[in-house]
């Protein structure tokens, strides 16, 4: 069912390309012109949807444009699509870069029909990943993308294409398999029969064990584990009850909207869409939900009252693949342990987080899982390199934000420093490797490794600026690297090689090309005024402010992220070094006589690059529209992750004491980035609740950069709301 009525926008976004594939298969291979036109038309649909989303989408932190349809009955698998502020920029990026890549493939001569059929299939897979809300569906799209990519590299690639294709395929497949394990495990653990009996039984077990152990009990691992489990249980009970009531509430609203006189079949359909079972007295139940839910929603109800309400509940949760639902149930994963014969019990959540980390890290790619990338990039045809760097790599970071951070928020906090360290290593290692390359494409490939490190760093920092910067970096790197790959393709089409040292003085014969290349390089380098700058500076500021974790037990937790940020900043210098050096060798110096007859870029090449140039300059000067797409969702994700510490149990609390203090100092909820007026101090806006869907429209030009440069002393981290009540009483008792 399409919940908002009207055109199923995201289905269109996802499946328009594959429809194009089907049409292509009916066209005879010799009509190359028709094939290309159809392919471009099919790829233009997602781009238009992307533009539409960019204009119309108002971020509220909730999933929008949702569609849901039962897909596989017995397994509770749904076809669920939707976008929020994290996926919206990716939708825009994927639509744009996908179309450009199709147009940039005009020069393909070998098996044109197969090529365009596959590239359209590839677009479907990638678009699907960015909008899927069901873990199963997400996985299917994730894998679906793999096959066409494999063939595109393996058939249309360079001399080493088969090796590159297989390497790409096996690396990614290894990652997806780990994801499959997580998928199965999360599905399996996502059910639960939680009654208050379970909690009291646990209480008894804890008491017994404590008696047995005597004084030392408080530190015993199994007691701590049981306590953590108890917290998880309580939280799960609460969440489950709320989720069920919320669903019923929503279903009731939807039925009201349909009108009380609506036919019963329609009512049933609505109920099914909300996952509510039909029973004869459903109307009464829905009415009850109407009354209860707002009161559960927090208006004047204390924890105790809530507990009383829950005491009657004996809730049975159905197993599910729904990412949103799983996100709500993350508490279920915390108390679980996986028993290894030799390693002893290991936290289920930690294990799953690591599995997912590897799955997504291979895609990003994070060192040491990056070795497929240079091969794939170098061997792939230009347009495929563009898709690889422009969209595919983003799927990794997107996966982190959507799946890992959603399902295992406590682990995101616990592993923040290691992830950030890997990110910083990526930045430096990628930059150093790039500097050593002679092949232009390989250089750009390694620069991608380096730039994706910024995404990792910003993401790990878990501050508003860090997360925003990370998402922006995904978008900006997507555009600037696409430009670079296209430009390398342009010169390769003329020279049939990419050796940096064999060029020289090209600026004289190819002025337009040189100009565009300069723009791309500067954007990638992070020159102020171009898009790369905004995201990098946001990542730096965000990670510098992060107070998660500590290196080697240093008492000041902020030191770890601060030192990492300083290291990361070296990466910017290295980036400038390798890019400028490359530029110098290719465009300046004496002109290589071989190249003096080269024609400058033709119309098609300019056509593919022009939109990216506009985007790079536009979002460099005025990034606010892009930031507006994400603010509320970033705030929500951040809240979700940081709040989870409250129930993470035992030892975590003290370590993050400082970070909490900061939040508590400011009980008011600050306005999200987008809505902050340029000069207003945070304290002056006590009344704008974070996450409120009706946040005031953006004030004109609140230029983030200016704020950043002014080094305002206030903590700009978006707060997590009222945190005083957050650590449950149980936890205090446990300590």
């Amino acid at each position: 069912m399409y919940e908002s009525g009207g055109l199923p926008l995201l289905t269109l976004f996802t499946f328009a390309p594959v429809l194009g594939t089907l049409v292509l298969l009916l066209i005879p291979s010799r009509r190359a012109d028709i094939i290309k036109t159809v392919a471009a038309a099919a790829a233009a649909v997602p781009m238009l949807v992307g533009f539409y989303v960019f204009w119309v989408y108002k971020d509220t932190g909730e999933l929008q444009y949702r569609e849901s349809l039962l897909w596989i009955d017995g397994l509770n698998v749904y076809y669920r699509l939707g976008i929020d502020g994290i996926s919206a920029p990716m939708v825009v990026l994927s639509g744009l870069v996908g179309f450009i890549a199709v147009v940039a493939s005009w020069g393909i001569e070998k098996q044109i029909k197969g090529y365009f059929a596959l590239i359209l299939l590839l677009l479907t897979g990638m678009n699907g990943v960015f909008v899927a809300l069901d873990f199963f569906l997400f996985y299917v799209f994730w894998e679906l993308m793999l096959l066409p990519m494999y063939f595109l590299i393996g058939i249309w690639g360079g001399p080493n294409r088969v090796y590159a294709a297989i390497k790409f395929f096996l690396y990614t497949m290894a990652g997806s398999v780990l994801m499959l394990v997580v998928l199965l495990a999360c599905w399996y653990w996502s059910d639960g029969r939680y009654a208050t009996n379970d909690v009291s039984a646990l209480n008894r077990r804890i008491e017994l064990r404590q008696e047995e152990l005597g004084e030392a009990a408080a530190d015993q691992a199994d007691v701590l584990a049981m306590q953590a489990e108890r917290h998880a249980l309580l939280k799960a009970l609460n969440d489950a009850r709320e989720a069920i009531l919320k669903r019923r509430f929503d279903a009731g609203e939807a039925i009201d909207k349909a009108g009380t006189m609506a036919p019963e079949s329609q009512k049933r359909r609505i109920l099914k869409a909300y996952g509510v079972e039909w029973t004869p007295d459903i109307d009464a139940q829905l009415a009850a939900a109407h009354e209860i839910y707002p009161s559960l929603g927090g208006i004047g109800m204390s924890e105790d009252e809530r507990g009383l309400l829950l005491a009657e509940a004996n809730i049975e949760l159905e197993r599910t693949f729904d990412l949103l639902e799983l996100k709500e149930r993350y508490g279920l994963f915390l108390g679980k342990f996986v028993l290894f014969r030799f390693l002893g019990p290991r936290s289920f959540a930690a294990l799953m987080f690591i599995f997912l980390f590897v799955a997504f890290a291979i895609k990003v790619p994070v060192f040491p899982f990056h070795t497929w990338l240079p091969w794939a990039h170098v061997e792939a045809p230009t347009a495929i390199s563009v898709i690889l760097a422009g969209i595919l790599l983003k799927m990794g970071v997107y996966g982190f934000l959507r799946v890992s951070y959603g399902l295992f928020p406590t682990m995101a906090v616990a592993y923040a420093v290691p992830i950030a360290m890997l990110g910083v290593f990526n930045i430096l290692y990628g930059a150093c490797c790039a500097m050593a390359q002679d092949d232009m494409k390989k250089l750009v490939a390694y620069s991608s490794v380096s730039h994706m490190g910024f995404c990792m760093l910003g993401m790990a920092a878990l501050t508003t600026w860090g997360l925003t910067g990370s998402i922006l970096q995904m978008f900006n790197h997507g555009t600037s690297t696409s430009m670079m790959f296209l430009l390398v393709g342009v010169i390769y089409d003329r020279a049939h090689h990419r050796e940096i040292n064999k060029f020289g003085g090209l600026a004289k014969v190819l002025p337009v090309y040189t100009g565009v290349m300069t723009l791309a390089l500067f954007a990638s380098m992070g020159l102020p005024g171009l898009s790369g700058f905004i995201s990098e500076i946001l990542v730096f500021l965000g990670s510098f402010r992060s107070k998660l974790g500590s290196l080697g037990g240093i008492s000041r937790p902020e030191v770890s992220f601060q030192s990492l940020t300083v290291l990361a900043a070296i990466g910017v210098v290295l980036t400038a070094a390798y890019l400028l050096w490359m530029m110098q060798r290719v465009f300046f110096g004496p002109l290589n006589e071989k190249y003096k007859d080269y024609s400058d870029m033709n119309g098609r090449e300019i056509f593919t690059l022009a939109p990216l140039c506009i985007v790079v300059i536009l979002f460099g000067v005025y990034p606010q529209p892009l930031i507006n797409l994400t603010t509320q969702s970033v705030a929500k994700l951040q809240r979700h992750v940081l709040d989870s510490r409250g129930i993470a149990g035992s030892g975590e609390k003290d370590r993050y004491a400082d970070a909490d203090e900061e939040s508590i100092e400011q009980p008011h909820a600050p306005a999200p980035l987008a809505t902050r007026a340029p000069k207003a101090k945070l304290a002056a806006q006590p009344d704008a609740p974070a996450g409120s869907p009706k946040a005031p429209e953006a004030a004109p030009a609140p230029s983030l950069i200016k704020e950043a440069q002014a080094e305002r002393p206030e903590p700009l981290t978006l707060q997590t709301g009222d945190r005083e009540g957050a650590p449950p009483g149980e936890l205090a008792a446990a300590r």
Partner: protein, 520 residues
């Protein structure tokens, strides 16, 4: 006896009749018209499928749905469908019907694989087609056999026919080798089975599937009997350590017969595994409790308790060994044989249940197993179909190299082959992925997560050798000897049609798996 019950066995009757018709028809047909025989045989298979579908619909209309799996312990409610036929000799339940359908599909492909211009005259005699149909009938009987006597007879009907068929390419030395190996080892395994059945009869005085229930003080003997029976059945399945015959026999037999063995025989044998696991392995233990003169009994499941881990270990070994050995094969047919072993391992995972599993759980596991069998059947049949089309100057082309450039020469066939390979490897969105997913899911939900994880890992390893075929077809490494020789295929419209059909079905089952599960 209620003769109307025989209606449920009509599909088997149709196939048996067709086999006789084919044999007699071969006497009157001129040798060059022998291809008509295979078409008649296929028509018989289609008729059988139609009869099966009609029966199913009739049952669905009358009783709702037939039970997925009939457990001999269950009491059939008044007015509900009673699947027990002929005094307990057969039981036609949903699971049995799905296995019958797989056997019929396999038979149709085996018939078509050897159609028109086969050079070996032995392959196109009437007996050859008759025997294929007889083997199919045996498989169908095995799928619904419900006591040990019918089980043995139908197993032998199936096996003897396949022994002969494996050796039917008389001019080919490998075919003879294949037949001999199959015969000797097969007879050996049947001996185990018969010993088991004899022990069981000696201990309990019954040949019914539930005979072990009345083991009484002969429990040790019954356990030994069940172990022997299991050996006999696992041999047919091709599970480690009873797998060694598989590669040689599969490689040597004519391709159509290999497909029949890889799909039909395996499906039928798994039907027996299911009947054994979920029905025969129940035993009653008397409890010392006596209340009001009633003695209390408890049903224990020896397989589920003591032997379950053994089953899991066998499954893992089968998967690992099959996949590892398949990697080094240069002959695609032999590679598919090893991959068949690996798939038996995955299938065995579906039979891991929690010790006290109830009806609903068993149903889920069986649904996973039968979906897997159907998906595996469809894609393996397709792959063997493509393989049997590939020949040059009457010489079958089965080597990896022979696939070089197939994508250029025959794009549609290559596409289908790629789909089969990727589906066998378990890539979404094809049927193979969903089948594996269901099996792993059922293993996880009965507490065998480690087995599932190992299974997933071996399935990644399997990707390597499936991809080798795809690489050969689509991206043959830039020639050391210049342009690679294009692969040659003969053309047979019926077989091509069947291959496209299975290709489409592979995709369809992956996209809409619930379409099938509605049948239950």
């Amino acid at each position: 006896m209620n003769w109307s019950q025989l209606n449920e066995l009509l599909p088997i009757g149709v196939v048996l009749t067709t086999s006789l018709v084919v044999v007699f028809l071969s006497l009157v047909l001129a040798p060059k018209d022998r291809y008509v025989l295979s078409l008649v045989g296929v028509a018989g298979c289609i008729l059988g499928l139609l009869a099966l579908g009609k029966n199913y619909h009739a049952l669905a209309a009358e009783y709702g749905q037939p039970p997925v799996f009939f457990n001999g312990l269950a009491r059939v409610a008044e007015g509900a469908y009673n699947p027990v036929l002929l005094g307990g000799a057969f039981v036609v339940d949903g699971f049995g019907m799905s296995i019958m359908a797989v056997a019929l599909l396999a038979g149709a492909l085996a018939l078509l694989c050897t159609t028109p211009h086969e050079d070996d005259s032995a392959l196109s005699t009437g007996e050859y087609f008759g025997l294929i149909l007889l083997a199919v009938a045996g498989m169908m009987l095995l799928a619904v056999a419900h006591d040990f006597l019918t089980l043995l007879i139908s197993l032998e009907v199936m096996s003897v026919a396949t022994y002969i068929l494996a050796g039917s390419a008389r001019r080919d030395v490998r075919s003879g080798e294949s037949a001999l190996k199959y015969l000797v080892l097969g007879a050996f395994s049947t001996a185990f089975l018969m010993f088991g059945i004899a022990f069981l009869y000696g201990a309990t005085g019954s040949l019914a599937m539930q005979a072990p229930l009345v083991a009484g003080e002969h429990l040790p003997l019954v356990k030994a009997a069940l172990a022997l029976i299991l050996v006999g059945v696992l041999f047919k399945v091709g599970a480690v350590p009873f797998h060694s015959w598989v590669p040689d026999v599969y490689e040597g037999a004519p391709t159509g017969i290999t497909a029949l063995m890889a799909v039909g025989v395996k499906a039928a044998a798994f039907a027996v595994v299911a009947r054994l696991c979920f029905e025969a392995f129940n035993m009653v233990k008397e409890l010392p409790k006596v209340i009001n003169g009633h003695r209390f009994i408890e049903i224990v499941y020896p397989l589920r308790e003591g032997w379950l881990s053994l089953f899991a270990v066998l499954a893992i070994l089968t998967m690992a060994l099959g996949n590892l050995l398949a990697m080094h094969q240069n002959n695609v047919k032999r590679m598919l044989a090893y991959s068949g072993i690996a798939h038996s391992g995955y299938l065995l995972l579906a039979f891991l249940v929690t010790p006290k599993a109830g009806g609903a759980e068993i149903t889920q596991h069986l649904q996973a197993a039968s979906f897997y069998l159907l998906a595996y059947g469809v894609m393996t049949l397709g792959a063997f179909g493509v393989l049997s089309l590939m020949r040059e100057d009457g010489r079958p082309m089965e080597k990896m190299e022979d696939f070089t450039g197939l994508a250029k020469e025959h794009p549609a066939l290559a596409l289908c082959m790629a789909v089969f390979m990727l589906s066998l490897a378990g890539m979404p969105p094809f049927a193979g992925f969903f089948a594996k997913f269901l099996v792993f899911k059922s293993a996880v939900s009965s507490g065998y997560a480690w087995a599932a994880v190992l299974g997933i890992l071996t399935s990644v390893a399997s990707l390597y050798y499936y991809l080798r075929v795809v690489v050969r077809m689509y991206m043959a490494p830039a020639g050391a000897e210049g342009e690679p020789a294009p692969a040659r295929c003969r053309y047979a419209w019926t077989l091509n049609l069947l291959i496209y059909g299975t290709g489409a079905l592979t995709l369809l089952l992956g996209l809409l798996p619930q379409w099938l599960s509605r049948l239950y």
